[in-house]
């Protein structure tokens, strides 16, 4: 009889605890970063199978860090955001590259006068170049650099973080000169147009806090053959409860409480 009483008491206690937990949802801070690294194929091709494996990925990540320290790999970008769980954040680091998109092409000029060619220097009516001159009338700007837009959700009491990544790398490779028509004396108009290289990916991945994971990569031919790696890292820290956060937000004069070490993730 006493054991039955204890079982009922235990169940009630458990329900009460879970109810309290439901009322007091934890508040998490999540830091997400993506290291964008370019490695020559000689180093990169053997690294990818290791980065894909369960056992070798952390050692391969450490090796990439050593390659970066020795300048054997190039850091192309390292966007990072710190957000609350179930919220979104974004960051971009870019250089705006301007390029012309519309041009004013001169019409065929009509010459009024004696019609002699070439026009004598003394003439007041000098024919303009026909096709050689091209005047840009509108420009556009393209952002070159790295971008990261992300949303994080806490799963399994913080053991896992589900992250929506939307990240990209844009590079200016070159400006190409495209020849227009030449005028009668052989002067050609030139239109400069940029060639951009773009690497974008948008996976949803579940990571453990502190885990490093290859979220995407690609082999690129230009400007030199190389492998570009996107290495994702997530760190989740339990700050407290939402009610504590709301209480601290309602008191702007008081300093926000420091995160308790007893609440942080192991």
């Amino acid at each position: 009889m006493n054991i039955l009483r204890c079982a009922i008491f235990g169940s009630l206690l458990c329900l009460l605890t879970s109810q309290l937990q439901a009322e007091e949802p934890p508040y998490w801070r999540v830091r997400i970063s993506v290291q964008v690294v370019a490695i020559d194929p000689a180093h990169g091709v053997p690294l990818i199978p290791r980065l894909k494996s369960a056992v070798g990925k952390e050692a391969a990540y450490d090796e990439i860090q050593q390659l970066l320290d020795r300048d054997d790999a190039e850091l192309l970008g390292w966007p990072a955001v710190t957000i609350a769980a179930n919220s979104s954040g974004e960051t971009a680091s870019s250089l705006g590259v301007q390029y012309p998109t519309e041009f004013d092409v001169l019409p065929i000029p009509q010459i009024f006068g004696d019609g002699t060619w070439p026009v004598p220097p003394s003439s007041s009516l000098v024919p303009e170049p026909m096709w050689g001159a091209l005047t840009p009338t509108a420009n556009e700007v393209r952002d070159c650099g790295t971008k990261l837009k992300t949303t994080a959700r806490i799963l399994d009491d913080g053991n896992l973080v589900e992250v929506d990544f939307d990240t990209s790398l844009t590079e200016l490779l070159a400006f190409h000169e495209i020849q227009g028509c030449k005028d009668a004396v052989g002067i050609g108009g030139i239109i400069s147009q940029p060639e951009f290289q773009r690497l974008t990916l948008n996976p949803t991945i579940r990571l453990h806090s502190g885990e490093h994971l290859l979220i995407g990569s690609s082999f690129l031919q230009k400007p030199a053959p190389r492998i570009v790696l996107f290495l994702g890292t997530v760190r989740a820290t339990r700050i407290g409860t939402l009610s504590q956060k709301a209480a601290s937000a309602s008191k702007p004069d008081e300093a926000s409480p420091a995160p308790s070490s007893s609440l942080s993730l192991p």
């Binding site: 006493n2 054991i3 204890c6 079982a7 008491f9 235990g10 169940s11 206690l13 458990c14 990818i48 894909k52 369960a54 056992v55 990925k57 998109t101 519309e102 041009f103 092409v105 065929i108 009509q110 010459i111 009024f112 006068g113 019609g115 002699t116 060619w117 024919p127 799963l155 399994d156 053991n159 589900e162 190409h176 495209i178 020849q179 227009g180 028509c181 030449k182 009668a184 108009g189 239109i191 147009q193 060639e195 773009r198 690497l199 974008t200 990916l201 948008n202 996976p203 949803t204 991945i205 994971l213 290859l214 995407g216 990569s217 690609s218 082999f219 690129l220 031919q221 230009k222 570009v228």
Partner: protein
């Protein structure tokens, strides 16, 4: 027995301790049951998958036998290893290698690795002027002299540009069965190469003057398939005969791995 227990305080203490242990045991058991029922706990068991497609160019003398081996299921893994050796030796050339890690889900995961090459889509083609007899006394309007010709053609003036994408694109929608470690995949792979620019005659003037414009020459291979693969397996997605380099074929080989330890099948 009951009377004996009520009389001895030591036994009563043991009984109380037993009751407390039973209560804590019930609490622990209930917590475990409640945790097991949380949907997030179930979700977290789904592993991430890494899906990549190696697009390689091989001389036909090596590529054709290798493609034949890859078509036989029992020879596929050996042929894949052979391909890696050919890549390391430089016999095979890597054209593209898009890779993406994703959680199995209904939505697509996409990786674009492309160059945006500008190419003109609209031109102002120069008109050929009508020749007038030179007459110094005439004051009638005259057209200007004709534009310069290169190799008998007049280059058109580009007025509007678009960007052509060249590179590799991988779109995947994986669904996994954890027990069987099998993955249902819907895969779209697109490999586009720019072989350079070609000069095309786009118009001819009234006096049969040719008007030319430069256009990019794009070579494209597309694969769109749905199939099932076990984690750790490879599959030959496509074979393409390409013009550059000469006497070569292009293979697209897909791999599915998991960066997490999966249960043994």
């Amino acid at each position: 027995m009951r009377a004996l227990m009520t009389q001895k305080p030591g036994l009563r203490l043991i009984r109380r301790v037993g009751q407390m242990i039973a209560a804590f045991g019930t609490v622990a058991l209930s917590s475990l049951i409640l945790r097991a029922e949380e949907p997030s706990a179930k979700l977290s068991k789904t592993p991430n998958l890494t899906i990549d497609v190696q697009i390689v160019s091989l001389p036909t003398r090596v590529g054709i036998p290798l493609a034949r081996s890859m078509m036989k299921e029992e020879e596929m893994e050996g042929a894949y290893q052979r391909l890696q050796e050919l890549l390391a030796a430089g016999t095979a050339q890597l054209i593209g290698w898009p890779l993406i890690t994703t959680t199995p889900r209904e939505n697509q995961s996409v990786i674009h690795a492309t160059n945006e090459i500008p190419w003109p889509t609209e031109w102002n083609a120069p008109g050929t002027p009508i020749s007038f007899r030179q007459d110094p006394d005439s004051h009638s309007p005259r057209l200007a002299p004709p534009p310069h010709k290169d190799n008998g053609t007049i280059a058109a003036v580009p007025e509007r540009f678009e960007m052509a994408e060249a590179g590799s694109i991988l779109e995947v929608t994986p669904q996994i069965s954890v027990e069987q470690a099998a993955v249902d995949l819907t895969v779209l792979v697109r490999s586009i190469g720019c072989l350079g620019n070609v000069t095309t005659i786009i118009d001819r003037g009234p006096q049969r003057d040719a008007v030319s414009a430069e256009q990019p020459l794009l070579e494209q291979t597309t694969v769109n398939q749905t199939f099932t693969l076990r984690v750790g397996e490879h599959a030959l997605l496509g074979i393409a005969k390409t013009s550059t380099p000469p006497n070569s074929i292009r293979l697209a080989v897909l791999s599915v791995t998991s960066p997490e330890a999966l249960p043994k099948k």
